[in-house]
């Protein structure tokens, strides 16, 4: 790119450089101390989710009628629940559902939202108007109420809970992607590309998308914690994962009936939610500070 610039092409015709962006991001991240704490907390969750079959001392669904509501101790690190299942093992397996909601679902909805936003912003006109009014409508619902309504209508199970979380996440990405597309579309380097005869698809993916990515990554990383909270709330209400599959929200609910005799069931699973969400929030804040310092105070 420097050779072209040297040949007398004005700077505005050169697409902003993006080489070694990832390396630059990593070196900036090393200075984010709270972000590193967040990564450590999330790593714990990821290790729990992936390593559950090897780490867990018991099968998460093994019922043991002789050892019901045992308090934490040597045999059961975090005690047992009302069916004698090992709480620690269930928490390890429960990490899978929450991480799935937090990372897989949020990533997928960022991709969907970005695609919608790119199309709306680039096409303009009636396509833009219809798509964006639809996004406005989706954003007009109070989040958790809408998620509850979706799972209630479609039926309570994991897939529908994930659909509900995705529906809450992608309109925001669409709005941002559209905004970025609208401003990038008019930039000289895109105009130059169009003059050279590039197809809209090429312009969108090669030139607009890479430059619109930063705010979308920021939004996505800020949404992870909230997505985990919504998943656990839905599971708590029995609208997410169905028993006997272990999930943190459902465990808090199961333990609530035994708060007096066995407080560790609700307390431990709730604590797991807290640590994972805090990790996600710390990571999200750090990513935002690096990629989008303008938003630091927001």
């Amino acid at each position: 790119m420097s050779t072209i610039a040297a040949a007398g092409v004005p700077d505005t015709l050169v697409r902003p450089a993006r080489r070694n962006r990832f390396v630059g991001f990593l070196s900036a991240f090393r200075r984010q101390r709270l972000g590193i704490v967040g990564v450590m907390l999330l790593s714990l969750t990821v290790i729990a989710a992936i390593g559950a079959p090897w780490i867990a001392p018991y099968s998460p669904n093994k019922i043991d009628a002789l050892h019901v509501l045992q308090s934490p101790g040597m045999h059961h690190l975090l005690g047992t629940d009302s069916l004698g299942r090992d709480v620690f093992s269930r928490i390890l397996y429960g990490a899978r559902v929450s991480l799935y909601a937090g990372f897989v679902v949020v990533s997928v909805s960022m991709i969907i939202g970005t695609a919608i936003g790119l199309v709306a912003g680039y096409a303009g006109g009636i396509t833009d108007a219809v798509l964006m009014r639809l996004m406005d409508a989706l954003l007009a619902f109070p989040g958790l109420v809408f998620a509850i309504a979706i799972t209630a209508a479609l039926g309570p199970n994991l897939t529908n809970a994930m659909i509900a979380i995705a529906v809450l996440s992608f309109p925001g990405a669409a709005r941002i992607a559209r905004g970025e597309t609208l401003s990038l579309r008019e930039r000289d380097f895109v105009l130059a590309e169009r003059v050279l005869g590039a197809s809209p698809v090429r312009i969108l993916f090669r030139h607009i998308l890479p430059n619109a990515l930063a705010p979308i990554i920021v939004l996505g990383s800020l949404r992870v914690g909230g997505a985990i909270l919504i998943e656990t709330s839905l599971s708590f209400l029995g609208l997410g994962v169905q028993p006997p599959t272990a999930s943190w929200g459902a465990m808090v609910n199961e333990g609530s009936a035994f708060l007096e005799r066995a407080p560790w069931i609700s307390m431990a699973s709730g604590g797991a939610i807290f640590l994972a969400v805090m990790g996600a929030n710390l990571l999200g804040d750090a990513v935002r500070d690096i990629l989008d310092p303008r938003l630091r105070n927001a």
Binding site: R133, L134, D136, A137, L138, A140, F141, P142, G143, L144, V145, F146, A147, I148, A149, I150, A152, A153, L154, G155, P156, G225, L229, T232, S233, F236, L237, G238, L239, G249, V252, N253, G255, S256, L259, E260, P263, S266, M267, G270, G271, I273, F274, V277, M278, N281, L282, N297, A298
Partner: protein
């Protein structure tokens, strides 16, 4: 100003139409149309008879008409406040909601009051002592508040205050008019849980928007004039910091509505949220739909009010 309000109101129309369409689509997606539910009660039919009855009932309920006509019909009913009847009790949904509304209203009002009266002063203190111990403390508490799941906080409170020390009832509800003291006692834990859950966001926003306002040139002027610190912070700083804060108020209201569903369920408060959650378990969809519609409309109106307040406080917005 009137022009701005009218324009803003008209902007809401397409969104409201889309919202109702989405709710209608959700209603269509629910398993079992009213006809199936009605036939389900009459047993001992052959499959041919069953089909025939189903067809007759569909015709009677108008379910065989084009979907768009059904939508308009449904919209017409909803807009005159006819939310249908409960599948289970046959009670009009509107009456069921009206009975439960005061509880949710009390919970919401007290939670808002508590949340804002903690968050705004905390945010001001944090901003005025930027990077000092108060600020770091407030940031830390804010981070905790943002990450603490309210389903967990609620049970920690119940465990400490009800199970361990028996200071407050773990759940249940007493109407205010029956016994004001008992009412406030039964509301204390739900209000603290719900109120503090939103406080973190409000506090962070108060801090950042006050810092933003304090860095403006007119603050230097105010100082140069020799105004007291108090006047500088509240009359010049806070007044300008209010504008972004009001936007958050609208968004937080949405969080409060969702939170009420969970909190009412945990503390067995007979409010609108618990009505809806119980209805979900009983597959009583008209109730669920009525509550969702009402909360969504409340949220839309809150955000409309926010935009109007925005225009009142900041003339620049009116002409944009």
């Amino acid at each position: 100003m009137t022009g701005y309000v009218v324009r803003r109101f008209l902007m809401m129309v397409p969104v409201v139409l889309m919202v109702t369409m989405l709710l209608f689509v959700l209603r269509q997606a629910t398993p079992g149309d009213p006809a199936t539910v009605a036939v389900g009660e009459t047993s001992g039919l052959t499959s041919a008879e069953y089909e025939q009855t189903l067809q007759q009932l569909r015709a009677r309920y108008g379910l065989n008409r084009p979907i768009f006509v059904q939508y308009l019909d449904w919209l017409g009913q909803m807009s005159i406040g006819d939310l249908g009847r409960s599948y289970r009790s046959n009670q009009p949904v509107r009456d069921a909601i009206q009975q439960r509304l005061p509880v949710t209203f009390e919970l919401g009002f007290l939670s808002l009051l508590l949340g804002w009266s903690i968050a705004v002063p905390a945010g001001v203190v944090a901003a005025r002592n930027r990077n000092k111990i108060q600020d770091l403390g407030a940031n830390f508490v804010g981070l905790l508040g943002l990450s603490l799941p309210s389903i967990w906080v609620a049970f920690v409170f119940i465990y400490v205050f009800a199970v361990r020390f028996h200071w407050l009832p773990p759940s249940g509800f007493v109407p205010f008019l029956d016994n004001p003291t008992q009412n406030l006692k039964s509301m204390a834990l739900p209000v603290i849980t719900l109120g503090t859950s939103g406080a973190a966001v409000i506090m962070r926003f108060t801090r950042s928007s006050l810092l933003e306002a304090m860095s403006q040139d007119y603050m230097r002027t105010a100082r140069a004039k020799g105004l007291s610190e108090r006047a500088i912070v509240w009359r010049h700083g806070m007044r300008n910091a209010l504008i972004p804060l009001i936007t958050i108020a609208g968004l937080e209201f949405g969080g409060l509505l969702g939170g009420a569903f969970i909190i009412e369920e945990i503390f067995a408060l007979p409010g609108m949220g618990k009505l809806a959650v119980d209805a979900i378990y009983a597959r009583d969809y008209p109730i669920v739909q009525g509550v969702v519609l009402l909360t969504t409309v409340a949220y839309l109106l809150a955000n409309f009010a926010v935009d109007v307040a925005y225009g009142m406080l900041d003339p620049r917005i009116r002409y944009a």
